[in-house]
Amino acid sequence: MSNKKITKLLKKNGLRLDNRKFDELRSIKMEIGVLEKANGSAYIEWGKNKIIAAIYGPREVHPRRLSLTDKALVRCRYHMTPFSTDERKRPAPSRREVELSKVIATAVEPIIFTEFYPRTVIDIFIEVLESDGGTRCAALTVTSLALADAGIPLKDLVAACAAGKIDGKIVLDMNGIEDQLGEADLPIAITPRNKEITLLQMDGTFTKEEFKKALNLAIEGCEKIYDIQKEALRKEYIIVKEETEKIEEE
């Protein structure tokens, strides 16, 4: 990649390098139930990001001492495959992956009825096959779909999206280059029904006004993501619904 040559992230016509407007998301595709052996799974293509999430559980906790007596433990492993980046990534968990695993587990926990399954664990495995900026948001989005697919009782879904600042302008959903060369990044996750924020991180510098603007833009982005999530779930399960209706007619 010729990243070194790039100095400006906004073109003269005000569009971004990939011809998006400031408030435009990348193209997003979601699929439900992609893995046979997992209790629940989902796949997302968010721009150039390609991520699979798998849910196992609720199941017994190993090691035993980690189990909680009043609710289920939510455990997450976020992992980037060695071929997911431009330069080979060493497969051992990096500091960043440990952080994202922790942050994703805490961001999805509020939506799960963990108290229904005391002394068990819900394991989340996230595998990043290709990455291009904004993987934590994409990973969170796909994780909530996988949880729904696993048939685990949920209060809501989680939708995540980032906003940031490039060339002094607030933009939605930054890709890899914008993330690297931009001035600030603000990934957030919300529960769309009651607009509670379950994740908010920030990297770079915003003024107070810029922060407010970026936050509102990111929330708008999350709502768009939520619509895509709902559609993906409906599309998958409407087929199942029709199947069961046929059975009853027979």
Binding site: P58, A148, G151, P153, L154, R193, Y237, E250
Partner: protein
């Protein structure tokens, strides 16, 4: 005060089902006076009781359920049974022997060994403790012969068919005994391996083609053809 979704409408977690004077039933939850779905399923209501019929969930033990389990460990007090649920079940030695167990005289592994399969009933379970199963009832106990297969739990209604039409047809055509555990395991036992294989083939075909029409006839034809060969 109103019910907001159509009967048997597909709903997703967090979807608003009803507002006002309604009661939160199965697979739903209530916030103030609003009732939301907590699972993917089909929403429905009987008078004021709003509930969701889940499309896909794991097995959660319920007292009285008949399940097929596998012995995975032995302790002094009993056997640990895997019942395809989030919790491991316990079968007490006193229950199995029908009297108090004497470690000096009785050998537990004479009765059940690790790897053995049992057909049992859930006798106690309340989430704070692991479920307890019993084999003290008609038709329960060790599974001595046959094959156990696991099928997707959502396909079990299809396997049973309307008033048991599907499973009864497979039983009749193959002469096999078919026992369906509520935890998603199915036991097939017949006169010989061939008829068992035939019944398993039929069950797998049902699982794979669960959405197609006229499946009972298709399976019936399949079995007749296979028997002829």
């Amino acid at each position: 005060m109103q019910y907001l979704v159509e009967k048997r409408q597909l709903v997703i977690p967090g979807e608003l089902l009803a507002e006002g004077d309604y009661k939160s039933g199965k697979n739903t939850y209530q916030e103030e006076n609003r009732i939301y779905s907590s699972l993917i399923g089909l929403a429905n209501h009987i008078e004021k009781n709003v509930f969701v019929v889940a499309i896909k969930t794991g097995y959660m033990p319920v007292v009285g359920d008949l399940v097929i389990g596998k012995v995975i460990d032995m302790r002094l007090s009993g056997w640990i049974i895997d019942i395809n649920a989030p919790y491991k079940a316990m079968l007490f030695t006193s229950d199995a022997f029908g009297r108090s167990f004497n470690a000096r005289k009785d050998e537990m592994s004479d009765f059940l060994k690790v790897g053995d399969l049992i057909f049992a009933k859930i006798s106690a379970f309340d989430r704070t403790r692991d479920p307890i199963v019993t084999i003290r009832d008609q038709g329960l106990g060790k599974v001595n012969r046959g094959h156990v297969i696991k099928i997707t739990s959502t396909k079990i209604p299809r396997l049973i068919g309307k008033k048991g039409s599907m499973v009864n047809m497979v039983k009749r055509e193959t002469g096999c005994q078919i026992t369906i555990g509520q935890n998603g395991l199915v036991l097939v036992s017949g006169k010989n391996v061939e008829v068992e294989a035939l019944a398993i083939l039929a069950i797998r075909t049902i699982e794979k083609n669960a959405h197609t029409l006229g499946l009972t006839d298709k399976i019936s034809n399949l079995l007749k053809k296979e028997e002829g060969d």
